[in-house]
Symmetry: C2
Subunit: 330 residues, 2 copies
């Protein structure tokens, strides 16, 4: 596979240098791999810190900014960042109001954020943690005990980030983040495999004419291989999988998320099918976001995430946000 | 090639239905294929109308909104929209201050916008036109006499859109748009071919281990095939090609634009190389934008666009914009 890189070893550092040039509103510490809101710490604000393996951009570094994350720690491609990055990020952004770690449920991330929380508390930083585990496709997977964390991470980071921006205290921001995760479910699928720079060839084999339903964001196996389906059939499978696990009585946020290589034209067409099926199931849609947000490098495919909301969550969703990857109202 | 579609015949209509669901701030006429700012016509404002073949999303429909386009007309994939769409769009958005057609230099688009301008003027709408032809790679190409219009379209639509939003008169908005085009140059490359829904197989053959320098946004042939190069080497070739034709004495806007399937991680890494080379050539960078903006469906690759600016153009670039694809400051 051809890639737009120099050598695999410098992919993450190169990307961080490129982010630094493009986003003077962020402080990018290339050596220590920490991306921070330039105005951090912000007095009176809880600071959200997230991170995970690289290769899911704009998640997480592209979600740093007012109204969302205070800092992000990128690991190597598909590899957890180390505790030292997280402690450094926490120390850089803590205003005294405390830090919330947002952790996708992958074993490495969970262990490292746990360790980082202990180390940060030793330094006198108050730390809370919330685990994101929204993917209904499988329990226990290649890198995960329990459910994987995927698209809902965006909802958690945006909504908790808005609460932090409003000056809500740590316990409230933490409990909101937890609520968003509990009310969110995702289901993804792949039309092609993903290729990491280090490996250079697809990480799994997906024959022509087949798709994989229930794929993870690192190409972890899903539920089943099927002969290729139409956009409408895939939307039905994905929405059904989500609604089997979440029976929303209130309106939902919808994220139709591209895995990376699927054209926006197709994602919008897929969204039309998702909306049609939700209407048929009697699910009211409050807001819809379509695009590449929680990606898997060059994988073709998409995921559907629903989050059941109330008025408070909707107001926080609509609140201004200003990050490279998500921006409105400011 | 697997695609996330129903059938090739409904790809554009499906995408428009999906856009309508996701963007209540736009009026999407699926049947007539016109996307309009919901608040149009806006009294006292010149209205920008653009359009072209689908498959380049977010261009143009994703650039409709306050501070950018008033309306967009999507054609079939890689096929010009028809004059009827353009006239309908012009009629929907004209406040009496006039309409500016922004036309990428492809033969079909030029002919159809010319015809539409005549028809609209027959209806009493004052129309000006500006041609975008920024691609230095080749003169005369598969669909073009002269240079192709590519990445600079974003600069023209954003900067002229800000001028329109400020209430500047048609002659000024038109002359600004023309100036932005004259001061902009682009160069693109492909690491993989593009596949259209109608064809279902790659539209050209790009062997493993080779890239195509100077590619167009429809996979039109470029300048040369070369054995695969590093990100730094490609950046050097692209920047050199642009600077051979544009010798900026003032700071530039930089667009590092993904063709669709190249991961954002790689685009940021590529941007680091572009910035390094610009520094080495003594070119000052005022602003940088990195992402998928003027795409070519599932093609892997990217392009570099530079636009030499002055203070007025920079202020218009920085002015608030609120569209699905580009949004800041509002």
């Amino acid at each position: 596979m051809k890639m737009l890189i120099n050598v695999p070893e410098t992919v993450v550092a190169d990307a961080l240098r490129g982010m630094a040039s493009a986003h003077p509103e962020l402080t990018v510490d290339v050596e220590n791999r920490v991306i921070v809101r330039r105005d951090a710490p912000v007095a009176g604000q809880v600071a959200l810190v997230s991170g995970g393996g690289s290769g899911h951009e704009p998640l997480h570094g592209g979600f740093v900014g007012p109204g969302m994350l205070a800092a992000a720690c990128p690991g190597e491609v598909f590899t957890s960042p180390v505790p030292d990055q997280m402690v450094r990020a926490a120390a850089a952004v803590d205003s005294g109001a405390g830090v919330l770690f947002i952790v996708k449920n992958y074993t490495g991330d969970v262990l490292n954020f746990d360790m980082a929380a202990e180390l940060a508390e030793d330094e006198g930083i108050q730390v809370a943690k919330v685990l994101v585990n929204d993917d209904v496709a499988v329990t226990d997977s290649l890198y995960t005990a329990g459910r994987r964390g995927t698209g809902a991470t965006l909802f958690v980071e945006k909504i908790a980030g808005a609460a932090a921006q409003e000056g809500r205290p740590l316990e409230q921001v933490e409990s909101l983040a937890r609520r968003v995760n509990e009310k969110s479910r995702s289901f993804g699928f792949a039309l092609s495999a993903v290729t990491t720079p280090a490996k250079g060839t697809p990480t799994f084999d997906l024959p022509p004419g087949e798709l994989e339903l229930g794929i993870g964001i690192h190409g972890e196996p899903g539920r089943e291989r099927r002969p290729m389906m139409t956009s409408g059939e895939i939307a039905e499978a994905a929405v059904d999988a989500v609604l089997t696990d979440l029976a929303p009585r209130n309106p939902v946020l919808v994220l139709v998320n591209g895995m990376g290589a699927t054209p926006l034209l197709e994602l919008y067409g897929f969204n039309a099918e998702v909306q049609r099926i939700l209407r048929g199931r009697g699910v009211a849609v409050a807001r819809t976001l379509v695009g590449n947000y929680v990606t898997s490098l060059d994988m073709a495919g998409a995921s559907v995430t629903l989050c059941e909301i109330d008025e408070d969550l909707l107001a926080l969703w609509d609140a201004p946000v200003s990050t490279p990857g998500l921006r409105w109202g400011m």
